[in-house]
């Protein structure tokens, strides 16, 4: 387990590094003065000069990359053009909103998807199984922002059941949760389909294995067999899929924040693109990518830990 964990973590770090290199390298591709393009019309000439020197834009690419890494490691992601504050601060302020949105999305998709997949596996071939299958495919297909806008239209504007704007009052958890419901549903619904499918497929595979037959031969109840014996195994690939799904949920979260006018990293980036606040865009992209890699890493490690066969191989 330890060896696996180290190897996997090292790989994650490497991938993140390469991703960042790719990101920086694209600056080289832009024609014209990068500083002017990247900082946009809001930057003053002195800012551009500082930017040029900071980023070492006149230096060879390799040096630029090295300098960038040096700065990232110390937490310096540049300066927000608009507010003149460190980018890290700006992004960090918005992070909790997005994280809560994604977390809630995960809760939704797991709470609906896992039981759905379980049920479909147990009642394989039944009408409900086919229906669940169709539903799963459908929610995977439809983009989350369409779901977001339609739910806004129907439940907020139309029926008035839910608020249309914002994240709720600070300090009032109930209000915040209330504001979270519709957006997190939009974020998590697509993943319900994926989870239901993988749970169903894993369960079907596990339920066909010999040890389940043996458990039945010993007269264990179906409930015990399903939840204690089979689901415990089927959860493992599900966790991995969930980890990968977070990347998709991050994208959905951006849309959800815009549609429901919630604060968050997504809205921040969007606004920053419009105002050509490149350092914020760049910094936020770096952070969310690193976050996503960390999530998949965590999911893989949890999955490995859940399987005793991997866990005990030190």
């Amino acid at each position: 387990m330890l060896a696996y964990a180290l190897k996997r973590t090292g790989l994650a770090v490497l991938i993140t590094a390469v991703a960042l290199i790719l990101l920086i390298s694209t600056i080289q591709i832009i024609p014209g003065d990068p500083a002017a393009v990247l900082l946009g019309p809001l930057a003053s000439p002195s800012m551009r000069e500082t930017f040029r020197v900071e980023m070492g834009l006149d230096q060879p690419t390799v040096v630029q990359i090295a300098r960038f890494f040096g700065r990232v490691v110390t937490g310096d992601l540049g300066t927000d053009v608009l507010t003149r504050r460190p980018v890290l601060t700006t992004v960090a302020e918005q992070l909790p909103f997005t994280l809560s949105l994604i977390a809630m999305g995960i809760v939704w998709s797991a709470a609906i998807g896992i039981p759905l997949g379980c049920y479909a596996a147990i009642h394989r071939g039944s009408v409900l199984d086919r229906l669940a299958g169709l539903l799963s495919v459908s929610v995977i297909a439809v983009p989350s922002f369409v779901i977001a806008i339609y739910s806004l239209l129907i439940f907020s504007v139309g029926l008035g059941w839910f608020p249309t704007i914002g994240a709720g009052e600070r300090g009032r958890l109930g209000d915040q949760l209330y504001h979270l419901i519709l957006p997190s549903l939009a974020v998590g619904l697509g993943w319900v389909g994926y989870l239901a499918r993988i749970v169903r497929a894993s369960m079907l595979e596990v339920l066909g294995e010999n040890h389940i037959r043996m458990a039945r031969a010993f007269g264990l109840s179906e409930a015990t067999i399903t939840y204690k014996y089979a689901l415990k195994i089927a959860v493992i690939p599900t966790v991995v899929v969930l980890g990968i799904g977070i990347g998709n949920m991050i994208s959905s979260a951006v849309f959800a924040e815009i549609v429901f006018a919630r604060p968050g990293v997504g809205k921040l980036i969007y606004d920053s693109v419009i105002t050509r606040n490149y350092p914020v865009v760049m910094g936020a992209v770096v952070l969310t990518t690193a976050f996503y890699v960390a999530c998949t890493l965590t999911a893989d490690l949890i999955a490995a830990w859940l399987d005793p066969r991997v866990r005990s191989n030190l």
Partner: protein
């Protein structure tokens, strides 16, 4: 693996009957025929957009803004009085154009990189895998936002984002297939008679990859449509007044309190297209290659 010898004489005939047989297999499944029907609706709408709708999609008629759906305007009008049905039909053209172009480029790139990784030396494979994994670690919207910041909003930017987002999955499948075929007997025999690498790749490996790859493509089209619509929604794609489903949806969102119709009009074709292509793709995969149960 197909028996290559049977492909000699009546190859064209075999292909045609395989196609017809394939068609019936898809249509036999309810999800397949539903998907096919929806896809045909979209294609039909795109092809005959000018004929099907009497209105000019970009012509302003401000006095007729926010009309609800009715006989005159099948989906109503938007904030500038433009007929939504016509805009939706023209938006289909953009969606399908992007799907075609971006998928072709992504496919080509995926083939090249995948075959290089699968057939080439280990260090090249490791390097390419690292590159592809790094590409995959960007959430798609982040990729879109970052790239548009650099190159500006345009349809070209959309194509670029789509290519970058879908290329890794193509490359992976190509790589896996290439690797499994690398040591197949017919490849080894070709190598032993000194056939050059390019010939081996094109003549021997490529035909065996095409099948699963096409299925993957059909399953990816909804993703492409989603990316295009999403980017246009965020204003990162087509520039107004060109109608893209995403920009119609954006108008709908902006004026959601004035009239629900722009939002409905924008979302509806996206749902139809994504459901249609997904149903079709899923059926294709279930019928022809269940092993391709792809990770999301």
């Amino acid at each position: 693996m197909s028996d290559r010898i049977s492909d000699i004489a009546p190859a064209a005939q075999q292909r045609r009957s395989a196609l017809i047989d394939g068609f019936w297999r898809v249509v036999r499944q309810p999800m397949g025929s539903l998907g096919l029907a929806l896809v045909l609706v979209v294609i039909f709408g795109a092809l005959f957009a000018d004929v099907l709708s009497a209105y000019n999609p970009i012509k302003l008629a401000v006095r007729e803004r926010f009309l609800p759906a009715g006989f005159e305007h099948l989906l109503g009008t938007d904030q500038l009085g433009r007929d939504l049905f016509s805009r939706v039909l023209h938006g289909a053209r953009i969606a399908l154009w992007v799907a075609l172009v971006a998928t072709s480029i992504g496919l080509a790139g995926g083939l090249v990189l995948g075959m290089a990784a699968g057939y080439g030396p280990r260090w090249l494979d490791s390097l390419l895998i690292l590159f592809l994994d790094a590409l995959r670690s960007f959430p798609t919207v982040m990729l879109a936002l970052a790239l548009v910041t650099l190159v500006g909003a345009s349809l070209g930017a959309v194509v670029l984002v789509v290519v970058l987002a879908t290329l890794p999955s193509y490359a992976r499948v190509v790589r896996a297939q290439t690797m499994s075929l690398k040591d197949a007997e017919f490849v080894l025999s070709a190598r032993s008679v000194g056939a050059p690498v390019s010939r081996i790749l094109i003549k021997h490996i490529l035909p065996n990859i095409i099948g699963p790859l096409l299925i993957l493509v059909s399953m990816d089209i909804p993703v492409v449509i989603t990316i295009e619509a999403g980017m246009s929604f965020l204003g990162l794609g087509v520039r107004p007044p060109t109608p893209s489903w995403g920009s119609i949806l954006n108008d709908g969102f902006a004026f959601i309190r004035e009239s629900p119709w722009p939002a409905i009009a924008g979302g509806l074709p996206i749902i139809v297209a994504t459901l249609g292509f997904t149903f079709l793709g899923e059926t294709l995969r279930d019928e022809f290659d269940p092993k391709l149960r792809r990770e999301p």
